[in-house]
C-alpha cells in the first residue's frame, strides 16, 4: 500500500552491517537493511525500499514466473486473434 520501490544492492557498508547502498535507475542511496537480518541481501540482489528501509528481497524466480504468466497471456491472446482472423466465415 505504501510507496515501495525496487532497488539493486550495490555494496554493503564496510563498518555497519545494517546499512547498504542501493541503486535505483542510476540514483544511489544508503538504506537500512536491518529488517532483513535473517537473510541479508548481497550485492546484485534486489530489494523493496520503503522510507529508507529494505522491507523484503525481490525473488527473481517469482518475478520471472509472474512475467511468464503475463507473457503467456499475451501469446494466447495473439494466437486467439490470429485464429479468429483466419477463420473468417462468409
Amino acid at each position: 500500500m505504501c510507496l515501495g520501490i525496487p532497488g539493486e544492492v550495490i555494496e554493503l557498508h564496510p563498518e555497519q552491517p545494517d546499512l547498504a547502498k542501493v541503486n535505483v535507475s542510476g540514483v544511489r542511496r544508503m538504506i537500512n537493511i536491518g529488517l532483513l537480518s535473517d537473510d541479508p541481501p548481497a550485492p546484485g540482489e534486489w530489494v523493496l525500499i520503503h522510507v529508507g528501509f529494505a522491507l523484503s528481497k525481490i525473488d527473481e524466480q517469482e518475478a520471472a514466473a509472474t512475467m511468464q504468466f503475463l507473457e503467456g497471456t499475451g501469446q494466447a491472446y495473439e494466437d486467439e486473434l490470429a485464429a479468429l482472423k483466419a477463420s473468417v466465415i462468409e
Partner: protein
C-alpha cells in the same frame, strides 16, 4: 527500470483485459474493493479502469493511513509541535492535512517547526544535530511503515539519543477490513489485498475473509499489470466458485511475512485497546502505541496532549468514501467546496486518498477497451 517497466506493458494489458471481460457473467455486476490507497493511486494514475468492462466496479477502501487520521490527532500533533524547543518531523503526506485550526503547513506559517523527512531515520540525524531541541517524529502508516519506526526507536536507544520521541499513529489493516465486511452498506465480491502491508504481516491474516466471509482475496503488487492480473485471478475464483487467499505479488510478499519486522514492532509498540478512525468510528485493537519499555520515547507521555475529539465538518463525507459506500464524485462537496486546494477532508488531501486520486487523475470521460461478454474479439 527493472521490476517496474515490465509490469507496465500495454500489450499484455490488452490481453488481460480480454480475459477479464470473458469471465464476466452477462448481466451480473461485480464489486471489487482495493484496500490500499497505493492501489487506488495506481489505478487512477495509469488509467487502469479503461481496461475494465463496465460490469466491474472498483470500490476504494480505507487503506490510506493519512486519510483515516481524525482531525483531533492532527490538532494534537500541532499542539506537540508548538511546545517550546520542539522540532516535529513528518512524512510529506501529512503536511496539508487539515486540523481544526489548519494544517502543518499553516502551523509552520504561525511559527512551529514541522520538517518534512523521507525516512524516520532522518529524525535521528536532526536530533543529533540539535541536541538542545526535542525531536518528535509523527509516526503514521499501516504495518508497512511501523517496522521502520520500530527500528528507528531501537537505533535511538542503541546510540543513546535522548532527545527523540515518537507520536505514534500507526494503525493495523485487518480491523479496518473487518469493519468493512461487517458494514451493512456494502456488498463486495472480492478484495484486491494490500501489497506492502503483506510483506510484513504475510498473507495468513486475510484467511478469515475467505473462510468466514466467503470472499476471495488476491494480494496484489503496485504496477498496473499486477493489479490487472489480480483482478483476473479474483474473477477466475468467482467464476469457479472458490474463495481463497492468493498471492499475486509473490516476488515481494513472503507468505509468512517478515519475522524480524514483526519482532521489532513487538519490542517497541503495543496495541491500543481502541482508536478512533476517521469515518469508521472507534475500532478496538486497531492501532499501536509506544510500548511501556520505550516510555522514554513516547511523546504522549513526555508531553501533554490535549486528546480532544474533534468531529469532522458536517459537510465531510470522508467516512463513507473510505468505506467504499460513496464514490468520490458522489460526495456532496467533491470538487466544489472540497478540492485539493481547499480540502475539507483527508481523502482529498492525501496523495493516496480516493478523492485526490479521482480529482487529479480520473475526472474524465472514459473510453473502455473491452466490454463484458465480448470475449477475445
Amino acid at each position: 527500470m527493472r521490476f517496474v517497466d515490465e509490469f507496465r506493458d500495454a500489450d499484455k494489458a490488452h490481453a488481460l483485459a480480454a480475459k477479464i471481460a470473458a469471465l464476466c457473467e452477462p448481466g451480473r455486476q461485480y464489486k471489487l474493493m482495493e484496500v490500499c490507497g497505493g492501489h487506488t493511486h495506481t489505478i487512477y494514475k495509469h488509467g487502469l479502469e479503461d481496461y475494465l468492462p463496465e460490469s466491474i466496479t472498483l470500490v476504494h477502501g480505507p487503506g490510506c493511513p493519512v486519510c483515516v487520521i481524525p482531525m483531533g490527532r492532527v490538532d494534537d500533533a500541532i499542539h506537540l509541535a508548538s511546545q517550546p524547543d520542539v522540532i516535529m518531523t513528518s512524512f510529506g503526506d501529512m503536511m496539508r492535512v487539515p486540523g481544526s485550526g489548519g494544517s502543518f503547513f499553516d502551523a509552520n506559517a504561525e511559527g512551529t517547526h514541522i520538517r518534512m523527512v523521507y525516512s524516520p531515520l532522518d529524525s535521528l540525524k536532526i536530533a543529533r544535530q540539535n541536541p538542545d531541541k526535542q525531536v518528535v517524529f509523527m509516526a503514521i502508516g499501516f504495518e508497512t511503515t511501523a517496522p521502520s519506526t520500530a527500528m528507528t526507536m531501537i537505533r535511538a536507544r542503541a546510540e543513546g539519543i535522548e532527545n527523540f520521541s515518537v507520536f505514534c499513529n500507526h494503525v493495523t489493516i485487518v480491523p479496518a477490513i473487518k469493519a468493512i465486511l461487517d458494514s451493512p452498506d456494502l456488498r463486495l465480491d472480492g478484495f484486491i489485498g494490500p501489497g506492502h502491508v503483506s510483506t510484513v504481516i504475510g498473507c495468513r491474516p486475510y484467511e478469515f475473509i475467505a473462510k468466514q466471509y466467503g470472499k476471495p482475496v488476491v494480494v496484489a503488487g503496485f504496477e498496473p499489470l499486477d493489479i490487472l492480473q489480480s483482478i483476473y485471478m479474483l474473477m477466475l475464483q468467482l467464476s469457479q466458485g472458490r474463495s481463497e487467499v492468493e498471492n499475486q505479488y509473490a516476488r515481494v510478499v513472503p507468505w509468512n511475512g517478515n519475522l524480524v519486522a514483526l519482532k521489532a514492532i513487538g519490542e517497541t509498540m503495543e496495541l491500543r485497546p481502541y482508536f478512533e478512525w476517521r469515518g469508521l468510528g472507534f475500532i478496538s485493537h486497531s492501532a499501536l502505541k509506544v510500548h511501556e519499555k520505550y516510555a522514554a520515547m513516547d511523546a504522549e507521555l513526555l508531553f501533554q496532549v490535549p486528546g480532544v475529539r474533534v468531529a469532522d465538518p458536517k459537510a465531510c463525507q470522508c467516512g463513507e468514501v473510505l468505506k467504499g459506500v460513496l464514490k468520490p464524485w458522489e460526495c456532496k462537496v467533491f470538487g466544489t467546496a472540497c478540492t485539493p486546494e481547499t480540502p475539507i477532508g483527508t481523502c482529498m488531501v492525501s496523495p493516496e486518498g480516493a478523492c485526490a486520486a479521482y480529482y487529479n487523475f480520473g475526472r474524465m470521460n472514459r473510453n473502455r477497451v473491452a466490454e463484458a461478454g465480448v470475449a477475445g474479439s
